[in-house]
């Protein structure tokens, strides 16, 4: 596809030659090119919060337990993550993506977080008990900012959506993992922080070890 070319003019020419309907395609290509390269646009936080709350409420009507609800939010996030990876590899990385474990983790912690949430994540740690676990933590995750969980919903965490985003990025970059969101109490703070726990599947670690 034309827009995958690193320089727009050459991409444009490719399409001029191949397309049966050059003018129309070029119009679309330019529109797409503009959308792909901007990315500084903003909407109000409340617009997002309203939208997110509808996402959660709608999914609540589709499930009968918390695990199922988290899974559905994760699915929605996954769709976002897959697209974010593609978009950011194109925009920030010159159409390259990370192939090493630490590279992709720091890509999520810094690049993805910065674009989606306007800041790098508060911390990225390696699990102390398991080799294959990493934790990306955020004091006040954007999606949890306006959410209070009813008592009867136990450990439900809307961060499942963000866990889905992370999973979407990792899976599509070739680092399949199980990703979950957890509340972790912090001393001296009223609200718990949210930790996104990443547990890579075995093959990822084997490959990483082989690469040395």
């Amino acid at each position: 596809m034309g827009f995958r070319e690193s320089h727009f003019p050459s991409g444009l020419e490719v399409h001029k030659r191949n397309s049966p309907c050059p003018t129309f395609t070029i119009h679309i290509e330019i529109a797409l090119w503009e959308t792909l390269s901007k990315g500084k646009q903003k909407v109000s936080l409340s617009a997002f919060a309203f939208l997110f709350s509808e996402l959660v409420q709608y999914n609540q009507t589709q499930v009968d337990n918390i695990a199922e609800l988290e899974r559905r939010l994760e699915d929605a996030g996954y769709a976002v993550g897959a697209r974010v990876l593609e978009l950011l590899c194109h925009r920030e990385k010159g159409n390259r993506r990370e192939t090493r474990l630490l590279g992709i983790l720091s890509f999520i912690h810094s690049t993805v977080w910065k674009v989606l949430f306007g800041k790098v994540a508060d911390s990225l740690e390696k699990g102390t008990e398991h080799e294959d676990e990493y934790m990306n933590s955020e004091k006040e995750l954007l999606v949890n900012r306006f959410i209070s969980i009813p008592k009867d919903m136990g450990a439900f965490n809307c961060g499942a959506f963000v866990a889905g985003i992370v999973k979407g990025v990792l899976d599509n970059a070739g680092f399949p993992a199980v990703v979950t969101a957890h509340f972790v109490p912090v001393d001296g703070q009223q609200r718990p922080r949210t930790t996104i726990l990443i547990k890579f599947v075995e093959e990822v670690l084997l490959r990483e070890a082989r690469l040395g």
């Binding site: 959308t35 990315g39 646009q41 903003k42 909407v43 109000s44 936080l45 409340s46 617009a47 997002f48 309203f50 939208l51 997110f52 509808e54 996402l55 409420q57 709608y58 999914n59 589709q62 559905r72 699915d75 929605a76 996030g77 769709a79 976002v80 697209r83 974010v84 978009l87 674009v115 989606l116 949430f117 306007g118 954007l142």
Partner: protein, 186 residues
Amino acid sequence: MAPAAPKSGDAIFASVDRVNAELFTLTYGAIVRQLLTDLEEVDEVNKQLDQMGYNIGVRLVDEFLAKSNVSRCVDFRETAEVIAKVGFKMFLGVTASVTNWDTEGTTCSLIMEDNPLVDFVELPDTCQGLHYCNILSGVVRGALEMVSMKTEVTWLRDMLKGDDVFELQVKLLKQIPEEYPYKDDE
């Protein structure tokens, strides 16, 4: 104390917390995709999006009134202008223009050239009946209902279907009289 002067859409948008529009766009895309999978019928998806928008509109109007300091609009014309210039700007960061008034001044069109909901979106052939931005019409309808105006909101033009702009027609059906004594601040 004298009431604060109404603020412009730009001023409010500059003062509120903002997020990356792409997070918003992609999240909305994920919602639409989920609805298409769950409900299968495009008409049902349109209905559900409208309902979601309505729910948002009903709640959003409080924030709008609190932050914008707008006073009561004298007529529907002013209402439409305020929605297009202040409401759209304050939440979505874009403005719309108001045109195509009918002679009674009860029907008009909001025209949008820039719409953060549709970045990256192309409708596949199977979804040609989908009103992708139907959530927005629901928001307008819900918000207006909270300020005593029953409206009917329909999409006339849609850039995803090849039109050059988005055109949202707002038709005032009736004004619901206030039911309890209304105390004006002035």
